[in-house]
């Protein structure tokens, strides 16, 4: 389902965090949101899933005005894989996944066979059905994340929002979780730290910086050394990887910085191609 975010403004305590952000996620598209810490990624996602109320702007999902419809109504359309995980109180894995059904259930409505089927199916799609009776707290980080994805699947939503879904995960689980999301065929908006993962799994990428969209486009349009330098202040080389066909970013430590200088000036596009070995004068 198509998500349209138009000119979202949000701030707290007199500080503007989002200064008119616009983006769109097409039907079935996986869109990445990258940017340094504090650039507003999480705040933007929170506006989309209605934890924050923007001071200005418009968010629509399909024909629906997200900001005006009820939390419950939106929960049937948007599922979130959040950063937080259940803390002090321990649920069984199946119970966590079954929570995904709650926006669809009335007050006294019992769990039906269909609900149980959906929950089991969601767990098995992420490979966690064998863990269904385990306590959530006994799982590893990657397993927990997969259970939260299963909960989102059980929600049967048309839009999936993920906030750093690969945080704390090892490489194997990172690829697995994102591959899973990719394979679902639903629209997804994911805040990601890892630029290479974003390049691998996203159809398009938005770069946030200082609460504004700095750039957007396909991974190879966006992931360029000069942009990475300006947004993150880090030198890098970007190559199209022969195996994946996607841009691959290699970050360069200060000592390997191609030309010691505070800002790239007027040599757009060149830097990425330059070989780091010959950098020192």
């Amino acid at each position: 389902m198509r998500l349209d975010v138009e000119n979202i403004v949000w701030g707290a305590d007199g500080r503007k965090i989002l200064r008119g952000v616009s983006l769109e996620v097409g039907s079935g598209e996986v869109v990445g949101l990258i940017g340094p810490n504090g650039s507003g990624k999480t705040s933007l996602l929170r506006c989309v899933y209605k934890v924050l109320k923007p001071q200005a702007g418009l968010i629509s999902l399909g024909e629906e005005d997200v900001l005006r419809s009820s939390v419950r109504r939106m929960a049937r359309r948007t599922a979130v894989v959040p950063q937080e995980t259940p803390g002090e109180f321990d649920f069984a894995v199946r119970e966590i996944a079954a929570m995904g059904r709650s926006p669809h259930k009335g007050l006294f409505e019992r769990e039906t066979a269909e609900d149980r089927e959906i929950v089991d199916d969601s767990l098995s799609r992420v490979g966690m059905l064998p863990f269904a009776e385990r306590q959530f707290s006994t799982l590893s980080g990657g397993e927990k994340q997969k259970v939260l994805v299963a909960r989102a699947l059980a929600q049967k939503a048309r839009l999936l929002v993920l906030d750093e879904p690969t945080n704390h995960l090892d490489v194997g689980h990172q690829l697995e979780v994102l591959g899973l999301v990719r394979g679902l065929g639903v629209s997804a908006l994911a805040a990601l730290h890892d630029l290479n993962l974003a390049a691998l799994f996203c159809d398009r990428i938005y770069v946030l910086s200082g609460g504004e969209v700095f750039a957007s486009g396909t991974p190879d349009e966006v992931l360029r050394p000069e942009l990475i330098e300006r947004v993150y202040g880090v030198a890098s080389e970007v190559r199209i990887h022969p195996a994946t066909g996607k841009p691959h970013v290699a970050f360069l430590p200060e000592s390997l910085r191609p030309r010691p200088g505070p800002r790239p000036d007027g040599q757009e596009g060149e830097r990425g191609a330059r070989r780091s070995g010959g950098a020192s004068p």
């Binding site: 929170r46 899933y49 209605k50 934890v51 009820s70 939390v71 419950r72 109504r73 939106m74 929960a75 049937r76 948007t78 599922a79 979130v80 959040p82 937080e84 995980t85 259940p86 803390g87 002090e88 109180f89 321990d90 649920f91 069984a92 199946r94 119970e95 966590i96 929570m99 995904g100 709650s102 926006p103 259930k105 007050l107 006294f108 149980r116 089927e117 929950v119 089991d120 098995s124 059905l129 064998p130 269904a132 009776e133 385990r134 929600q155």
Partner: protein, 360 residues
């Protein structure tokens, strides 16, 4: 009705069927506890007589083959008291369960939001201050009003300028209000002339079911049944809230409004229980935790199990309270707290990681 979910895996406990077993066991336990607790006392009465009297009094069946005194003891003295213990124990446990979810804090109990200290102020005003607006019900009414006022105060204080009511703010406001109200209680007690009054206040604040009569049962029972039904209807939202603030929103719970309604319901229930029993500590804290260890955290199971366990626990605590140093009576709160404190420490040690800090 509940088959264990389709492709159930070997290892785990069969949740659904296991739970009906737990419920049945608890129901049987409650029945046995009520019977035994009615038998025990200065005059022992046979279990058969207990239920024959009950049946006779309730329905008019059976020709009495017991003495009038026995009938009197069972029906007028022990039964109301034992049943009140069951109702109050169940009520406090249900409220404790709901409040732990509402403020998402394992340390929450029915009195975390100032209810007990508010009720105490009300009670002291009656006992020491001699405020008597409602005859013999003055104490109960004053306690209920005190608890409710404290609750409303805490809710208002905890509201941030933006209209949010965060769990942490609630707890902090509750602690602050408790201190202030306890100070008022202490001040009033210190001003009392009659040592007997001081004793009554102390006894009341530690909780007692000694004043039980049939009339005291109606309202708390209705509150217990209605409140538990309402909470059960909301158990999915309670689960979502326990899983996290943002998670709850993304699962369709409008957290601010839901939490406020939840707190008001809990406040009313607490006030009702406190009005007939004083402030009985620890039941509402330890029962929910213990129950979760057995049936898991899902409120559809925790709420009924907590209600039944709390009932059983308080029935027995009250038996100890009235028999341990008989003919004297102990405040039942002393019994629950003496049993509760070690339990609590054990719980803390068991969950070392969780209470330390981040916990996620």
């Amino acid at each position: 009705m509940d088959e264990t979910g389709g492709k159930g895996e070997g290892g785990g406990k069969p949740v659904a069927s296991g739970f009906s077993g737990v419920l049945l066991a608890l129901l049987a336990g409650l029945f046995a506890s009520v019977t035994l607790a009615t038998i025990v006392g200065p005059v022992w009465i046979s279990p058969l007589t207990v239920w024959k009297v009950a049946l006779h009094e309730a329905t008019g069946f059976l020709r009495p083959d017991w003495s009038a005194a026995e009938g009197q003891i069972v029906w007028q003295i022990r039964f109301p008291r034992v049943l009140l213990a069951a109702v109050v124990g169940a009520g406090l446990s249900v409220v404790g369960t709901a409040l732990q979810a509402a403020v998402r804090n394992p340390l929450a109990d029915p009195f975390v939001l100032g209810g007990s200290s508010g009720a105490s102020v009300g009670a002291v005003l009656v006992i020491v201050g001699g405020v008597q607006f409602f005859g013999i019900y003055s104490l109960s009414v004053a306690a209920f009003v005190g608890a409710s006022v404290a609750f409303v105060l805490v809710l208002a204080l905890a509201r941030s300028p933006g209209g949010h009511t965060s769990p942490l703010r609630l707890i902090l406001a509750g602690v602050a209000a408790s201190y202030a109200l306890s100070a008022v209680t202490s001040f009033l007690v210190l001003r009392a002339d009659d040592p007997e009054e001081v004793r009554s206040v102390l006894f009341w604040t530690l909780g007692s079911l000694g004043g039980a009569r049939w009339e005291y049962l109606t309202l708390p029972s209705a509150a217990l049944i209605g409140g538990t039904a309402l909470l059960l209807a909301q158990s999915r939202s309670l689960n979502a809230l326990l899983a996290g603030e943002e998670t709850a929103v993304t699962l369709g719970v409008e957290t601010d409004g839901f939490r406020r309604r939840l707190l008001i319901l809990c406040g009313l229930l607490t006030g009702t229980m406190v009005a007939v029993s004083g402030t009985i500590g620890f039941v509402g804290l330890m029962v929910p935790h213990t129950v979760r260890l057995v049936v898991g955290a899902d409120h559809r199971r925790v709420l009924p199990a907590a209600a039944l366990s709390g009932a059983i626990l308080l029935v027995w605590a009250d038996v100890v309270a009235r028999t341990a140093i008989s003919p004297e009576e102990m405040p039942v709160g002393v019994v629950t707290s003496l049993a509760g404190a070690p339990f609590f420490l054990w719980l803390m040690r068991r969950k070392r990681g969780a209470f330390g800090g981040e916990g996620g």
